[in-house]
Symmetry: C2
Subunit: 244 residues, 2 copies
């Protein structure tokens, strides 16, 4: 029995458990995807791995799934945060989707001096992260935080967490190896992607100073923030993360 | 004198040259961007590097720019092609934009057995590549080819060009180093991104067989085609290309 559909649910998942469906989920499963009693669905909730379930009751306003067995254990992504300055709506959605696909554990939108966005729709962004996890076969969903000012985030930063920050001002400089001398020691990391207008001089000075920050340069062309997010996560995952 | 605006033109660029503007370019420069006589504009045509120009005549239906000096030499990206199966319109546009930003030299949309798209709008995609080059500070614009069937592309393939192909069927396999034993010898390469439905068994068999093809695996999650394109180009540029 193989499930063609993966669904994120809030409900705990365990042996013999039955899971009630919301109206929206029932509409999607039975109305849109034409599933019915006896059909198989894969469920995950971000905590208990992936479970194979079958449809026990199917209605217009709800339904019930019964769990059969665990099909995958929970696979936590490495302890990587993606910190980024929200840009235009479609590109912000895209960054959140990509962070979930690429295996970030937490997504932190920040307001920098040159960020236009004064607010974000956290719930909408969280829904994008859920959808990306459903698509990419992940068993974990990264949390999307509320918007926070970059200087406040820096003020409260735990310096045990290394920071890879992508600084477009480095694009004309001669190539340097990414990550400097950072070791492969399982330390927690964050990737910080600046706003389209770049960091301010004041921000750049604060970011370049501490030992736990690592400016990196992503090639000789200036990348858009969404491209930079995927490229930086690729380099990190390949060097320190679960692609290695 | 610094230019705030970068513009792609078809016209040859050289010392003392004057460049006539089309109606659309005049509208953009003088109407939208509020430039006027004496203002500086950076021009590139994909062949002659980047030139600093000043506005000599500004009208509603046209205008003239006069070249001052070359501000950057032509910087060719490495000999990397991006071959991909077109998907939904917005994501196809996105892949072309990303290929230009990431430094592909040529972009080839292919039709695979599981590709939905039977046709593409080549001119629209080429315009996206131009816009991306304007944005990212590149002096080169990759050519977007017409749609071609994958089996025909393989039939006529020059085997001197290595192929990195991204095979989502490998996502559950244990991690392997990307690129196998391929050397850093300046060989031409192509990156091949499969369609959302994956390659067919027949295609996969043809792709796995030859010596010049290198299956790679982009982490334990299944990436969307647009994410895979950026991630694969990142790994390639870092290992063989102009990020190294």
């Amino acid at each position: 029995m193989t499930a063609k559909i993966r669904l994120y649910v809030e409900h705990p998942l365990g042996p013999g458990q039955s899971v009630p469906l919301s109206r929206d989920q029932a509409h999607y499963l039975f109305g849109v995807m034409r599933q019915g009693v006896g059909d198989a669905v894969a469920l995950f909730n971000g905590r208990d791995g992936e479970w194979l379930a079958t449809v026990a009751e199917a209605g217009k306003r709800g339904g019930t799934l019964v769990l059969v067995e665990q099909s995958r254990a929970l696979q936590m992504p490495p302890d990587l945060w993606l910190v980024f300055a929200p840009i235009k709506k479609a590109r912000t959605d895209f960054i959140v989707e990509k962070a979930a696909e690429m295996g970030a554990r937490r997504i932190l939108p920040v307001q920098t001096e040159f960020t236009n966005a004064g607010r974000i729709q956290r719930d909408r962004l969280q829904a994008h992260a859920v959808e990306a996890a459903e698509q990419c076969g992940g068993t974990f969903v990264p949390q999307v935080d509320d918007l926070i000012r970059l200087d406040r985030l820096i003020d409260g930063w735990d310096t045990a967490r290394q920071v890879m920050f992508c600084d477009e001002a480095l694009a004309d400089a001669p190539p340097k190896p990414a990550f400097g001398a950072a070791g492969h020691d399982g330390a927690p990391w964050a990737i910080l992607i600046g706003p389209e207008g770049g960091f301010s001089d004041r921000e750049r000075a604060r970011l370049h100073k501490p030992d736990h920050t690592h400016p990196v340069q992503l090639g000789p062309r200036i990348l858009r923030a969404d491209t930079a997010a995927v490229a930086a996560m690729t380099l990190w995952q390949q060097r320190f993360g679960d692609w290695a």
